[in-house]
């Protein structure tokens, strides 16, 4: 009985934490009103006087300190990284294979015809008549190794310039890397990434705003660079109509170096934006995850070099296995089939990421 009451009280605390009133909870448990009511009142009487909203300035300062510390860690890591790391044999072979593959792919794409006009901007997608994609005109993006732009909201004006505004929430993590922001470096040229899709009321639309949060750039050479965005939003006045067919509106964002100041500014590239732009849709391997849970996010797209190793386990630790002279890391996503023991014959599927190989699957081969 006490246990049941403890659970009810616990649920009420959760509900009050979510913003519900004690009376909402009492309505759910009328049989417990006499016992529950004074306790819920005590909870509110304790919580309310002490609950306050911390100052936004203090929060902003704390966030800046954290961001600086994160950047400092990144710089220290880069400084420690040798200019010419000793590469294992497998990586030399891998690089050679990649180079051959690249030549083949380039030759295939070079001989392909341009996108057919009827495939542009009207790709049918089930249950959506409007898609907003982000792209990046080249300009000064090549100064950056990464340029993360966090899109917080989208505004679309219906009708003419006196029309009402719709606010759309962008996908939480469109590139699925678990890191806030879209890396514009991946979206250069015709590459475009979907940030919203859904149904809009058929009709004319006159303006499209993109509201931007943090913009963080990592210059080639790993210097961190703050990129300015005047007014915190990007605005395009380019009227477009939505009807039965799907509209693929490409919103091109570009970065410019501001004179000799060494600073960079983000602007919309109007000429490269609109519903009639050619684009190549970029889709990443990982699915987008809810912000706040990036530990489950998919691997970044530079982690897609797959390697297969067969051989005998030479050594084994909790976090790694060495097979035929190659050490492969084990993490929580590694699928292990069979018991790993030194001397066992295994087949390892792994992904090369920066200097490490991370096992996606390790299968112990059955003894013959």
């Amino acid at each position: 009985m006490t246990g049941k009451f403890d659970e009810i009280l616990n649920e009420c605390v959760d509900r009050i934490n979510r913003g519900e009133k004690p009376k909402d909870c009492l309505a759910l448990y009328p049989d417990y009103t006499a016992e529950l009511e004074p306790l819920l009142n005590a909870i509110v009487n304790v919580r309310d006087p002490l609950k306050y909203n911390p100052s936004p300035q203090a929060k902003a300062t704390a966030k800046q300190r954290l961001n600086e510390a994160l950047e400092q860690r990144e710089r220290r890591r880069e400084a420690r990284r040798p200019l010419f790391p000793r590469l294992p044999r497998w990586s030399v072979a891998l690089v050679a294979a990649m180079a051959v593959l690249l030549v083949v792919l380039v030759s295939i794409f070079a001989t392909r015809p341009a996108l057919a006009p009827d495939s542009i901007g009207v790709e049918p997608i089930a249950q959506a008549n409007f898609r907003l994609l982000i792209s990046d005109e080249i300009n000064d993006i090549e100064d950056f190794e990464h340029l993360y732009v966090e899109i917080t909201s989208i505004g679309i004006q219906q009708g003419n310039e006196s029309g009402s505004w719709l606010t759309l929430d962008p996908k939480p993590d469109p590139d699925g890397d678990g890191i806030p922001g879209i890396d514009l470096r991946r979206l250069t040229g015709a590459n475009a990434l979907e940030i919203w899709s859904g149904n809009l009321t058929a009709g004319l639309y006159s303006k499209l705003f993109i509201y931007v949060g943090n913009v963080t750039g990592f210059l080639v050479g790993n210097e961190t660079m703050a990129v300015k965005l005047p007014s915190g939003k990007l605005q395009i006045s380019k009227p477009f109509s939505v009807n039965d067919s799907v509209v693929n509106f490409v919103y091109d964002i570009t970065v410019h170096k501001a004179g000799k100041s060494g600073k960079y500014i983000l602007n919309p590239q109007i000429a490269q934006s609109g519903p009639d732009q050619e684009f190549v849709e970029v889709k990443y391997k990982g699915k987008a995850e809810k912000p706040g849970k990036p530990e489950n996010a998919a691997k970044p797209d530079n982690a897609d070099i797959e390697v297969k190793i067969e051989g005998t386990i030479e050594s084994l630790t909790e976090d790694s296995v060495t097979v035929s002279g190659v050490t492969v890391l084990i993490d929580e996503r590694t699928k292990i089939e069979g018991a790993l023991t030194e001397g066992a014959e295994v087949e390892v599927e792994a992904t090369a990421f920066e200097e490490d190989l991370v096992a996606s699957k390790i299968e112990v081969k059955a003894e013959e």
Partner: protein, 183 residues
């Protein structure tokens, strides 16, 4: 080669920490304020929690407790440190605590006295009861998450919470508010 050398894992943990900042900062500051009784100090401590977490990130094991609960563990340790230091250096009378900046001076004074009354009641709970109230009411953790911080099962947290709320009810009844309808 060790797992912690994996750049991908390190970056993932850093990204998780950065994302959790927005979600947890306010709650950690409120949690710290209950013990410290000083807004500025509580906010300063909330910022320190994330820097401390970043310093210790290599030792944080994702397969152990969730990072959010881990942050509250760090917050708890920092609060205890500061509380001890403050106790050695100076004694701040509870009555000096300022919480709100109400426009009406009389209302503000009454609100401040209410804070003193509530904090006095909290101080009379057992240490475990105080911890569970702080984590559940101000840190807004679930009983499971609070259990991970306190190294207790969620059932034990629920029991402790019930006992704490009943004790609070009695303590607050012993000393009624200065003015009804305050808040």
């Amino acid at each position: 080669m060790h797992l912690e050398r994996s750049a991908s894992k390190r970056r993932r943990k850093e990204a998780t920490l950065a994302v959790l900042f927005d979600d947890c900062y306010d709650r950690i500051a409120r949690y710290a304020f209950v013990r410290l009784g000083d807004r500025a100090e509580a906010e300063d401590l909330a910022g320190d929690v994330f820097l401390k977490a970043l310093e210790s990130l290599d030792s944080y094991e994702e397969r152990g407790i969730p990072m959010e609960s881990w942050l509250f563990k760090i917050a708890h340790n920092l609060v205890v440190d500061r509380y001890r230091k403050a106790a050695k250096q100076k004694t701040v009378p509870l009555e000096t605590v300022q919480v709100r900046a109400e426009s009406n001076l009389e209302e503000q004074a009454v609100a401040d006295l209410e804070v003193v009354r509530v904090r006095r009641a909290l101080c009379r709970l057992t240490e475990s009861q105080q911890k569970v109230i702080e984590l559940r009411f101000f840190g807004e953790l679930t009983s499971e998450e609070a259990g991970r911080v306190l190294n207790k099962r969620s059932g034990a947290v629920r029991e402790l919470q019930s006992a704490a709320v009943k004790a609070l009810r009695d303590l607050l009844n012993e000393e009624p508010p200065l003015k009804e309808g305050v808040r």
